[in-house]
Symmetry: C2
Subunit: 328 residues, 2 copies
């Protein structure tokens, strides 16, 4: 034993250990078709002798966020944020308590409030606009620290999918650049996605509000304008990808028909491509929904998955755990 | 000599050499205030014990392109591309030869053609739109390979500034992320900026045309629409930075009043910041112009440089060479 220690220089041991610890594996994925398909694609992509090799500069992987990287039930978490913000701000707006539509909200009738589209616009205008981007960022961060999910009692940024975290790290370890391409608001995501997923703000693509640069004060800032400037959903996703990334991805993951065009755009490029849908099949550990859901409807995508060769990940079957806090 | 070779293992020699060669220096910058100011900022930014330390995640550096990273005289190079494209396409459009406004262009009266704003729109619509993004990319690449600058006889992508290339590499070696933030068209730039500057497409921010995702064919693609969707200039630059980068930069470089807001947005953030203007003072090796130029006018920026602490780089005095081909 002493001899062995003596013969192995300290530095070498450290190197071997750190190399091991930085090589991520898909530990929360059960063995099977899904895990094999992902690993098979990636192993060929990095093998310079494979006909399915992908040059490093082309290793662009894009992921939807809601329902793909984190949960989205019983309502989009960004919507939960907006509703909570109205409650938080209510004391400064005593008129809300008695005047519709906010009175409906504050009196607990979310259904009624949400039934009119113009109310959604008012909701966003009051919680996502008419303030600086720094102020908004701070509000999202504050909410993340305090609000909890009605079913799990966990903070929303804890309800990210452990197997997808491992997939992101696995891809990055193989020199893929990982991007979020979400219908969610870009500023809402950037407030927490770097910490949660290791994805920096400049690799987040999302829906855009208007923005105005105001330099009339000593500290010029960007003010969020209550208008939808760009909707990063459906056919908007390839547009958002082109504008913020500038390359057709080789790997795309989504969970709904809103991702159909992103997966299609990815899969129909030349050379090796990988498309996958996260299928919400786990009513016990998460939620089960697809063709008839108003949130995250997955219908056309299921129909056409085999046509495009998309992998359908079965959350109940393929994933050992759902959330990081499920790990023992 | 033999003993020395024997005593130094091959690997170690290689390591030392490669370490030396990857540590970029500002070799084409003359010693003086400008070079010192840049190095002083960067050395403190990476020194964890300095009060002016900048965490790696915040090391965002943004640069204008036209007149900052490459030349822009006697006309914006993107405009030269558009005019050349009209000439290249003319045989397919025999009516252009006799019908204004393109007849003016084809008969050599660029001045007359450019005097009407609607002509510029027609020029862009015919050369920058109504085609897929892949087709446009190919056209720009083809033009870069063939067209030459009227004064230097060099290809346009050779007319990049050697000292700025060194600055980009120097910043990246110190773990800055380098971005282009230009009023130029994003697709025009991305066709050549990765090769020229080592800046990947997802780190290029620019002006945007409309884009439509068309999936009626077997290979769905993005079609460029002849409308200006976003003008990444002046107050648009901070907006473009927020949308594509998502962080207030700590380092910004420009050359005209179109960069004023970008430098201001950068400089007025808290903590250490660096703003610089490239001042075109070299009528012999490049061009000399500032306050009264129609291209790259630098007027307000010069007035307010000391107020914001911006460095004014004097091309004639501070730069040993202008272009890479000037190096012996
Ligand atoms: Ca989704
Ligand atoms: Ca410029």
């Amino acid at each position: 034993f002493v001899l062995l220690t003596f013969c192995t220089p300290k530095e070498e041991t450290a190197d071997v250990l750190s190399e091991k610890s930085i090589q991520p594996e898909l530990l929360s994925w059960n063995e099977g078709k899904s895990k094999s398909a992902i690993m098979d694609f990636v192993e060929k992509a990095v093998d310079a002798n494979s006909p399915d090799f992908v040059p490093v500069a082309d290793r662009i992987a894009v992921f939807d966020n809601d329902g793909t990287l984190w949960s989205e039930q019983p309502m989009y978490f960004q919507l939960a944020f907006a509703l909570d913000e109205i409650k938080r701000m209510a004391p400064e707006h005593p008129e809300w308590k008695t005047t519709p539509p906010f009175s409906d909200l504050l009196n607990g009738d979310v259904q009624k409030f949400m039934s009119e589209e113009k109310n959604l616009f008012m909701l966003m205008a009051n919680t996502h606009a008419n303030m600086g981007t720094d102020e908004f960022d701070m509000r999202v961060k504050e909410w993340m620290k305090t609000a909890v999910h009605p079913k799990t009692g966990k903070h929303y940024n804890e309800m990210i999918f452990q197997p997808m975290l491992e997939l992101l790290e696995y891809l990055r370890a193989h020199e893929f650049k990982t991007f979020i391409v979400s219908g969610g608001g870009i500023d809402f995501m950037r407030a927490w996605t770097e910490e949660a997923y290791g994805i920096p703000p400049y690799q987040v693509v999302g829906s855009l509000f208007g923005l105005a640069y105001i330099d009339s004060t000593a500290t010029p800032e960007l003010i969020k304008i209550p208008e939808l400037f760009f909707n990063d959903d459906k056919g908007g996703k390839p547009v958002g990808i082109h504008r913020n990334i500038g390359k057709r991805p080789v790997f795309a993951g989504g969970n709904s028909d809103g991702d159909y065009q992103m997966l299609q755009y990815t899969s129909t490029g030349s050379g090796p491509r990988f498309g996958m849908y996260v299928h919400h099949t786990d009513s016990v550990r998460e939620y089960a929904y697809d063709r008839n859901s108003s949130i995250g409807r997955l219908n056309k995508g299921l129909d056409d998955a085999s046509k495009y060769g998309w992998l359908i990940v079965d959350m109940a079957k393929d994933w050992k755990v759902i959330y990081p806090f499920d790990k023992q």
